[in-house]
Assembly symmetry: C2
Homo-oligomer: 176 residues x 2
């Protein structure tokens, strides 16, 4: 993960800011073919995402479909929207996504973290989350929270997230 | 709590909407003195709250002070701000508060729930939360979440909140 570390430690590689057209571009560390220079992993905070492409990504991990009208509204009103792309030449494919709600001051909550199954177990989920945390920290958000499914608790723990700190418990209310 | 039930079941008693000047006015069920008709518990979603009055309320329950500049920003960018007042004639006192962040579509997270110690154990915390839930539901938010300190987990459970549903865990990330 030395590659990613160098990407994240150099803020100059990230142009723009929240809601802008900022993106971080990097060579794909997984590629070893002669066209390696044409393959990049790109992060973006641009929120004008093709909703059908996002739906396809969420389908790939088996998430229940949601009305696109509501997804559009949720993206508009998220504090941060992060997308991760595999770029080959001028073509790019959405391979990861995360977003966060926030009060713009104290708290942010990360939702909808997804990495396409074909791109999992290669450090890209970690890279996506580190990029997301870095963006939230750059906006002076100190309390970053999320609700983790049981099988990803350890993934988030390795990223520095603490489970039930001081006994604080996540609770959900659903309509009847 | 029959009194509150009738308040909450009649949406006509709640004027206005999110971000507006909506408030619900009701006689204080605790009062038994001859001036009872002058005492009301008032709920409001008005977000222009006197920050010093809010700070005083938070001081009363022993919360750490926060920069007013950031509190103002957090209130501006909260999806819902609910305040609870005791009103006697034209004078009113801030006795409770809650706010929620949201993506305006799927999820809301409730923060900073506080009831003044002199007004606790009288059903007012429950009333405050029921009002907050009702407001979020009226905006079509279905997934209402919060992070509960250990000593209030049962309070939220009685309101219908579920602890770690399907093993989903609340996690926190703090800066070093």
């Amino acid at each position: 993960m030395g590659f990613w570390k160098s990407l994240f430690s150099n803020s100059d590689t990230v142009a723009g800011s929240r809601g802008g057209r900022g993106s971080a571009i990097a060579k794909d560390p997984r590629s070893s073919d002669p066209r390696a220079n044409d393959t990049r992993i790109v992060f973006s905070t641009e929120r004008e995402i093709d909703l059908y492409e996002l739906e396809e990504l969420c389908d790939a991990v088996g998430w229940a479909r949601r009305p696109l009208r509501k997804v559009r509204k949720a993206l508009q009103h998220s504090f941060l929207v992060v997308s991760m792309w595999e770029q080959r030449g001028v073509r790019r494919r959405l391979i990861g996504f995360a977003r966060a709600t926030s009060d713009h001051a104290f708290n942010a909550t990360i939702w909808d973290v997804v990495v396409h199954p074909s791109y999992q177990s290669q450090g890209l989920g970690k890279a996506l989350m580190q990029y997301t945390i870095k963006k939230l920290r750059s906006e002076d958000i100190s309390n970053i929270t999320l609700f983790a499914d049981p099988h990803v608790v350890d993934f988030y723990r390795r990223l520095g997230f603490i489970l039930d700190p001081e006994g604080i418990k996540g609770m959900f209310w659903y309509p009847d």
